[in-house]
Symmetry: C2
Subunit: 299 residues, 2 copies
């Protein structure tokens, strides 16, 4: 039986799916690792071996995603400083001894492809994805093309400046969306009162007015950024994922309101705001979709 | 001889070129009109007739660009409220009695295609264009694809918010790049001291310190926006055109500095800042390129 493996190498675990070309899931797994001595690489190889063993034959297609910027030829991650030492320029076809190329994607790019293939953006040709977590990740598909760009950096939507006089983030962007929404800046944004966005949202749920004000400021920043993305990328939908999106209606209801305030609704057209559906498996499904050529126009 | 006609319908004049598939210019013309009773439409038809008459035979390819959002099928402008009454949904193939479809583009999209075909972005697969004039126009090509989007709105780069608490522009965007750089806001930005950006730049040239401060604020806003576009669209080059770009080194020197301050230079990669080369004919050349399928991957 023809099937694909999609592997998403994260910061602390490997998510993998075995899936048919029609999108039927045959197996899924989550393998934690410690980031030392390329343990992640050996565990990816072992995971592929295990999944192929279970299916009784090699996968016809294998795709992989990981943090960092993919190489031009799509066979490796070219740029990923500081973490996952050994990942840069590792050719996954060679490393996995695969019978054919193993296409490699940035993890956020893969997550969007996954949502377009089998999730919230199913069948859309114009969609953006925002992953609200420690940082704010992103990716964009326009006219059926996943945007990659000159060095596969396109879609870093968390690093748009919405406050040009604000402090710079890790990527040199002043007052970025990530600064306003990323969990890593929550203590800074709340004067140390909250350690996580989850705590903040719980306080909002319990009627804490100061917490609500802080939270709505973040949501308004997100709404403003989405209005900019509408003008630059013209999506049919913005898919919102990541841990912070679990806030549910506490996120989506005010977000609808802020987007309505800032969106250019040419011809009455409105962007849809949709929660992501594939959770932490989005990247694995997207990697499989990439290997299968299952979505969009290809590159 | 096989040739193409590229027509750019502007706000006050029609620019047209006759050009070979190899990019050799055979003729060019600029026909002013008054925006009433569809004078522009009849003058486009007369211009096409005149150019075809001069060449002794009909053009093999005709492309057109105009303000507004192009229709999904690329045969007309679907949305253009308030000006050029009669343009919306006018099918140009029918109107021009052309032997084959006349592909229609948004004017900023066409200008970028022109610069990619024969101008500053020649041969690039990843480029953005910013046209600094009354407003701030824009367009983007990523991975060889001109970005159009769900309703052909992609690339409205002037309408990115860089100051989320700023006043809203015509498109509902708070503190937009257009607000900081567009000529239409110059009196507002300078407390009525300058009526045009040209006057402001002349004062800078003559050593006026207050004027310089105002001007550098605009240039810094542009640099900040370009840094955001680098993260979202990942271009090799930003092409800067429009009347305000004639400021030359007074624009480009500080702009380089501000972009250096804000740009994420992953792997040492730097976006190039290049003056547009085709001036007011960019849209006409881009319309011809679009009809010829001369640049990029098509859609």
């Amino acid at each position: 039986m023809t099937y694909a493996l999609g592997i998403d190498l994260g910061g602390t675990s490997i998510k993998a799916v075995a899936v048919t070309p029609a999108g039927e899931t045959l197996a899924q797994t989550n393998v934690p690792f410690v980031d030392r001595d390329m343990e992640w690489a050996h565990k990816v190889r072992a995971t592929v071996g295990q999944l192929e063993h279970e299916r009784g034959g090699r996968a016809s297609f294998v795709g992989l995603s990981a943090p960092g910027l993919a190489a031009k030829d799509g066979r490796s991650i070219a740029i990923m400083p500081g973490r996952l030492i050994g990942l840069e320029n590792l050719d996954w076809m060679t490393f996995l001894n695969a019978p054919q190329p193993v296409p490699v994607l940035n993890d956020a790019h893969a997550a969007l492809l996954g949502e377009v293939w089998l999730g919230a953006a199913r069948g859309l040709r114009n969609a953006i994805m925002l992953t609200l977590g420690t940082g704010v990740g992103g990716a964009a598909m326009v006219d059926g093309h996943l945007l990659r760009g000159a060095i596969s950096r396109a879609g870093h939507l968390g690093h748009i400046s919405i406050d040009w006089n604000g402090p710079k983030d890790d990527f040199n962007t002043p007052g970025s969306l990530e600064h306003f929404m990323g969990n890593k800046f929550i203590a800074q944004r709340t004067g140390g009162r909250f350690a996580t966005t989850h705590d903040l949202v719980q306080a909002v749920e319990h009627g804490d007015k100061a917490a609500e004000e802080t939270w709505l400021r973040s949501v308004r920043a997100l709404g403003c950024a989405i209005a900019s993305f509408v003008n630059v990328l013209d999506p049919e939908a913005a898919i919102i994922g990541g841990g912070i999106a679990r806030a549910g209606r506490l996120l989506f209801e005010p977000l609808q309101k802020f987007v309505a305030e800032y969106e250019w609704r040419a011809g009455g057209y409105q962007v849809k705001l949709l929660p992501a559906q594939l959770g932490e498996l989005a990247g694995a499904y997207g990697s499989a979709a990439n290997a299968l050529g299952a979505v969009g126009n290809g590159v």
